[in-house]
């Protein structure tokens, strides 16, 4: 088994100093809440539990399966940890994994660690939790929804986390948004399928052998309002902001254009008005936002329809 650097771990140098610092602050704030929440609800046995499970996630990331021609799929584990441990513990466990990877293995930078924690341990966990909880709710807690919810949650966590990474890179002026967001999003939409399959396989195995781990209390932890709202906001913002950013030729160039635009506007306001008769309607930004929202609605729609159909079948 070779240690393979993950695409999602951003090394130092690729994020601007400001972006790194802001994301560090955000991550520290969320981690403080997570520590407080887990301290309140969990006993003293949770320290060894979380430490060992963090090691298990790390080792689980090394188990891979060959897809084709030398490429292989492996796990990130945000959704699996969220489903089995609840969101707040999952945030701590994944933060430990990402921190050790940066500190010892140089997989991901130290200054960029705040961003990597944000992407994988916070965005990954909260978006997975949102999707999983919704699907569980809709299915009225039927056992099949553990697997379906697990698959969709795993896919969402990878996809949304990769959008976050791509967005950070383009805000930093490292990668043009119109290339990095479709590229990162596209690759991880595929990687997410692998994540979904492994997560489903793992959940199926655990459900068969240790059904007691899917206790109602665990599920309760994921339905806290704060957790769901945070998940919803993060997921929606990233789903909407990414097409917005990628419809501009380049984050920095866009800013430059805007500045140029303002200068020009100050010089000759009247010359510009004919060109921009109805700002916002004949606008690629708007159409890509709408496309993004429709895409998100479609994904949720399919999940809901499948859930509804299954429920009807179960009722008959």
């Amino acid at each position: 088994m070779l240690f393979s650097p993950n695409q999602m771990h951003i090394p130092d140098g690729f994020l601007s100093g400001i972006v790194s610092i802001v994301l560090w602050l955000v991550s520290i704030a969320v981690l403080a809440i997570a520590l407080r929440k887990t301290n309140k609800t969990l006993g003293d046995r949770e320290i060894p539990l979380m430490g060992v499970l963090a090691a298990a996630i790390f080792a689980g990331q090394m188990l891979n399966f060959s897809i084709t021609g030398g490429t292989s799929g492996h796990l990130l584990g945000a959704a699996l940890a969220t489903i089995l441990l609840g969101p707040w513990s999952a945030v701590l466990v994944l933060t430990s994994v990402v921190a050790i990877q940066a500190l010892i293995f140089q997989d991901g930078g130290l200054l960029a660690l705040g961003a990597n924690i944000f992407n994988m341990a916070i965005v990954g966990v909260f978006s997975a939790n949102l999707v999983y909880t919704l699907i569980r709710k809709v299915s009225m807690g039927k056992s099949w929804s553990i697997l379906v919810g697990g698959f969709v949650a795993a896919w969402t966590s990878i996809f949304i986390a990769s959008l976050a990474a791509a967005l950070e890179l383009s805000i930093s002026g490292t990668s043009p948004a119109n290339l990095s967001i479709p590229a990162m999003g596209g690759i991880h939409a595929l990687i997410g399928i692998g994540e979904g399959l492994i997560t489903t396989g793992a959940l199926a195995f655990i459900y068969a052998s240790r059904r007691d781990l899917f206790t109602p209390e665990k599920a309760e932890a994921g339905t806290g309002k704060l957790v769901l709202i945070a998940g919803g906001i993060l997921t929606l913002i990233l789903a909407i902001l990414s097409p917005l950013a990628s419809s501009h030729p380049d984050g920095l160039e866009w800013v430059a254009e805007q500045q140029g635009f303002i200068e020009k506007a100050q010089e000759a306001v009247y010359n510009l008005i004919p060109d921009y008769t109805f700002p916002g309607i004949d606008n690629p930004t708007l159409s890509t936002i709408i496309a993004g929202v429709i895409g998100a609605i479609l994904v949720f729609g399919v999940a809901f329809t499948v859930a509804k159909l299954q429920k009807k079948q179960a009722a008959n």
């Binding site: 088994m1 070779l2 240690f3 650097p5 090394p11 130092d12 140098g13 690729f14 994020l15 601007s16 003293d44 320290i47 060894p48 539990l49 979380m50 430490g51 060992v52 499970l53 963090a54 090691a55 298990a56 790390f58 080792a59 689980g60 090394m62 188990l63 891979n64 399966f65 060959s66 897809i67 796990l75 089995l84 701590l92 466990v93 430990s96 050790i100 500190l103 010892i104 293995f105 140089q106 930078g109 130290l110 890179l169 002026g173 490292t174 990668s175 043009p176 990095s180 692998g194 399959l197 492994i198 997560t199 489903t200 793992a202 195995f205 655990i206 052998s209 030729p249 380049d250 920095l252």
Partner: protein, 265 residues
């Protein structure tokens, strides 16, 4: 899996200095170089010479760091489009008979990102290679990282290689019974869905084994008098020389950052 060559024991000034000094200076070093504007080549060069001298002082040598720093290289692809998307002046560069239009600010920014990343990762490698894990944890505690968190990370590290061995055994069992291709280009067994499901089952298995292991570990900790608070040794305060090293290091980085920000190239 290279398990034990992350820490490289040497008798050197760098290895012997306090982990807290190293952690603070490494973080400050990386922060400073990442705050430098692109194209401040003189300052990049000075930062590079600083890290090179530290590498020589550590007796690990520059070559060792160069080899390990290749890890972050593939990520440079993410910044490559800058060469073509940033504004003019463009330079036409013939490559394989094709004239590529490369933007000068784009090239400047791309090289800056690559150099910045390369210097940063060398600092991180030096820290990991010259500091023992327990010392690193003490340094983290001094940096006000919550003790519970440090305890989780320490326990993770303590059992990481045990569980990696467990995972290796699972993988060896799979290779010997199903799913592995006998040689590079051969088709592996089963369909890709099936292989994914098997891997999922293995991950689930690993998870359950780890869960059971954590129960045993907890029992063992209780038997040694664990009461919910991770035992923490008292840490000696930094002595005058160590404080002086930190202050001098920070001043150097600040000076290099300041000149980079104000004087430009």
């Amino acid at each position: 899996m290279r398990t034990h060559d992350f820490y490289e024991p040497r008798v050197s000034v760098v290895h012997q200095s306090d982990a807290r000094v190293k952690v603070i200076l490494t973080l400050a070093f990386i922060l400073a170089i990442n705050l430098l504007p692109p194209g401040t080549w003189a300052n990049y060069l000075l930062f590079l010479s600083l890290i090179f001298s530290a590498e020589i002082l550590s007796r690990l040598g520059i070559g060792y760091h160069l080899k390990r720093s290749l890890l972050a290289l593939p990520f440079v692809l993410a910044a490559l489009p800058l060469l073509f998307t940033l504004p003019s002046p463009y330079h036409s560069i013939p490559i394989f008979g094709v004239n590529l239009q490369i933007s000068q600010p784009g090239l400047e920014r791309f090289l800056s990102i690559a150099v910045r990343s390369w210097i940063s990762i060398q600092a991180a490698i030096l820290l990991a290679a010259s500091t023992r894990f327990p010392d690193l944890m003490i340094a983290l505690r001094m940096l006000k990282i919550p003790p519970i968190f440090v305890a989780i990370i320490s326990l993770m590290w303590r059992y990481l290689f045990v569980i990696i061995e467990e995972a290796t055994r699972l993988e060896r069992a799979r290779s010997s019974r199903s799913g592995a291709a006998p040689y590079g280009s051969a088709r592996p067994g089963g369909r890709v869905w099936w292989r994914a499901k098997v891997t999922g089952g293995m991950v689930g298995n690993l998870f359950l084994r780890s869960l059971e292991r954590s129960d045993r570990i907890y029992a063992a900790m209780l038997s040694r008098g664990y009461n919910g608070n991770p035992p923490t040794a008292t840490i000696a305060p930094l002595n005058r020389q160590e404080t002086l090293t930190i202050v001098l290091g920070l001043l150097t980085f600040l000076f290099l950052l300041f000149t980079g920000l104000t004087l430009g190239v």
